[in-house]
């Protein structure tokens, strides 16, 4: 069993986004989900710095530094796109107008608490940015992250040890091992990496997992059957 690559994880998330949905992809790994959106999905990407209908990275030499994404990298505008100020942008985010926000995380609790802005290390200044506004305001909050830390500790926990971004907001967790829904009755496994048993997943997960009937199989390329 080899955990999904970052590319495969990004593809898996992309394949689940709702057709014609309004979606914000957080900075870091979630930004790469855009590279795997199926042609004709109709998904409209929002970026917090004031743009709807974000298009792909421009060709080398075509960059416009007045046209960037939340990660401050050059992008393009798709046909039908628009620009607006930050207040209107955060009205979209906070006001429940986005269908899905995809965010990275350090930890997610069994109740959907999200910790993704600081590990509390002293030294580096903390930054919160717009992740917290997304976490509170988007209709669905999806997290994509490695299932465990580099030293093998579960990122899906009983209670987050790191400072919270928001309480009870995460609705679905995509990891390099599984897709897990945060449901009323607890964490429900929706899909499992091919070759991984439920017991092996439980061994790598601090919080209790439930099986909601049939679950799907995740292939190594991130597709799900």
């Amino acid at each position: 069993m080899i955990p999904l690559s970052r590319d495969a994880l990004a593809r898996m998330v992309a394949l689940h986004l709702p057709e014609e949905g309004f979606v914000n992809l957080g900075i870091g790994a979630p930004t790469h989900v855009a590279d795997y959106l199926p042609a004709g999905s109709g998904v409209v990407l929002h970026s917090e710095n004031g743009i709807l209908n974000v298009g792909p990275k421009p060709a080398a030499g075509e960059e416009d530094w007045d046209l960037i994404n939340a990660g401050k990298m050059p992008i393009s505008l798709r046909t039908g796109g628009s620009y607006f100020d930050s207040s209107l942008s955060f009205a979209m985010m906070r006001g429940g107008h986005l269908d899905v926000a995809v965010l990275g995380a350090f930890q997610v609790s069994k109740d959907g608490d999200l910790a993704n802005w600081t590990t509390g290390d002293n030294g580096s200044p903390p930054g919160i940015g717009g992740a917290i506004d997304l976490a509170v305001g988007a209709k669905s909050i999806w997290v994509m992250m490695d299932h465990t830390t580099k030293d093998g500790r579960s990122r899906i926990v009983e209670r987050c040890g790191y400072p919270l971004t928001a309480r009870r907001v995460v609705t679905r967790i995509f990891t390099n091992l599984a897709i897990i829904d945060v449901a009323e009755g607890g964490l429900a496994v929706r899909a499992l990496l091919d070759g991984l048993t439920v017991e092996a997943l439980r061994d790598r997960t601090e919080a209790p997992l439930h099986l909601a009937g049939e679950f799907q199989t995740i292939r190594q390329d991130g597709s799900v059957a």
Binding site: S47, E48, N49, G50, I51, D64, W65, D66, L67, I68, K72, L77, Y83, F84, D85, S86, S87, F90, M93, R94, G123, S124, P125, P126, G127, I128, G129, G130, I132, D133, V136, G137, P163, L164, T165, A166, R167
Partner: protein, 220 residues
């Protein structure tokens, strides 16, 4: 007819003094009035309170203000990848008020719009609620967030006419359009100054009533 065009960045920052609160537009480099960054340095003012989304990231932006140690406090949402700021933060020589980005811009909007604050769900149940008043509306908990004002708001526009009407370019609009409502003195650095009547009224984002000074970047 009203004409708010000034000669250069130095004229745009005229009157700034030690201890002032200063809003600086921009998200990263987009929307940052770079001529103002340098003109404020040239004035030799200190102990500024800086209200800005970021704290600089390259050698040629707000990093210069931290390198020169002219900022006493920054109100900011994402002061990451900011080497010069980080050095002073670790040394304890600059105060940081970390604010969620949407709350930051809405506090600025409240300041410009004459509001006493607003109720936000963002930060409830986290450290961002510490020390703030909680108010329940229809069974949901909110935090009372207070307005932000500044002695000066400096932003980057695309075009301005001589009256002070301003358009922006693409994602460089970001916090600029809101900050342009919230400074006691508002100065806009633009790519080009045009004649009254040259701007499509439908395209004007910041109407001239908010704008006190305009200068063209090329005139530096």
């Amino acid at each position: 007819m009203r004409n708010v065009v000034v000669e250069d960045a130095a004229a745009a920052v005229e009157g700034i003094k030690d201890g002032d609160a200063v809003m600086m537009g921009g998200f990263g480099g987009a929307g940052l009035p770079l001529g103002v960054v340098k003109a404020v340095l040239d004035r030799g003012v200190r102990d500024l309170t800086l209200i800005s989304n970021n704290a600089g990231s390259t050698e040629d932006d707000l990093s210069l203000w931290f390198e020169a140690r002219i900022v006493r406090k920054i109100v900011c949402s994402y002061p990451r990848s900011a080497k010069q700021f980080a050095e002073q933060y670790r040394a304890g020589t600059v105060e940081l008020e970390l604010v969620p980005q949407g709350t930051l811009v809405e506090r600025i909007r409240a300041g410009g719009a004459g509001l006493g604050g607003f109720l936000s769900p963002v930060g409830v149940g986290t450290v961002f609620a510490d020390g703030k008043e909680k108010i329940v509306v229809d069974g949901r908990e909110f935090i009372l967030e207070l307005p932000l004002h500044a002695d000066f708001a400096f932003v980057k526009g695309h075009l301005a006419d001589t009256l002070g009407n301003v358009t922006y370019n693409k994602t460089a609009r970001n916090h600029c359009a809101v900050m342009a409502t919230a400074g006691r003195t508002v100065a806009v650095e633009v790519d080009r100054v045009v004649n009254v009547g040259d701007l499509d009224p439908e395209a004007i984002v910041t109407p001239c009533i908010f704008v006190d000074r305009v200068f063209a970047r090329s005139s530096r």
